[in-house]
Amino acid sequence: AQRVTQPEKLLSVFKGAPVELKCNYSYSGSPELFWYVQYSRQRLQLLLRHISRESIKGFTADLNKGETSFHLKKPFAQEEDSAMYYCALSVRAAGNKLTFGGGTRVLVKP
């Protein structure tokens, strides 16, 4: 079965510093990877997906099949980036259902 691991439960950075959230997955085929974000008092929402290859709110994520990773990066963190971030995986063999990692809470300090 597929699995998603987010090794950091909490990341605390200062405003303007780079931030990288790690995500590793286990699946031998071709998965689709996503990052979802939950800001305080808001709903969980899609941040970005690897097939779009786009930058959202300054965040980027590259799928590395060799390392089975999909790390989320932003060069200059802002206070409004403070939130809970979830990496998720979808595979066609599992009916395209999402498997989520445990989540990383990001705290951006002023």
Binding site: K9, E32, A94, N96, L98, F100
Partner: protein, 113 residues
């Protein structure tokens, strides 16, 4: 457009009692999902429905049941609640299964005593 609504917002329930968490979407999405969110474990899929009239088991289905009588509604029922079912429950929907963007409801915080 409301998107996805869930009710109630929160509930305290005595162990052994039954409860139904409601979920309604107005986006005419085919697929709907129920997750539970627990600290350190992320979101885990309880049950899902690819289309009205069909349902399937997710990662943690025991103790829960669902029905999908129509496109809009996807209620989750706990027949006999236990303390380990204390969690935050999220309903979600997507236009197609999984690979498409999932849209989430605001959640229901359930405490089983």
């Amino acid at each position: 457009t409301a998107g996805i609504t869930q009710a109630p917002t929160s509930q305290i329930l005595a162990a052994g009692r039954s409860m139904t968490l409601r979920c309604t979407q107005d986006m005419r999405h085919n697929a709907m999902y129920w997750y539970r969110q627990d600290l350190g474990l992320g979101l885990r899929l309880i049950h899902y429905s690819n289309t009205a009239g069909t349902t399937g088991k997710g990662e943690v289905p025991d103790g829960y049941s669902v029905s999908r009588a129509n496109t809009d509604d996807f209620p989750l029922t706990l027949a006999s609640a236990v303390p380990s079912q204390t969690s935050v429950y999220f309903c979600a929907s997507s236009d197609t299964t999984g690979a498409d963007t999932q849209y989430f409801g605001p959640g229901t915080r359930l405490t089983v005593l």
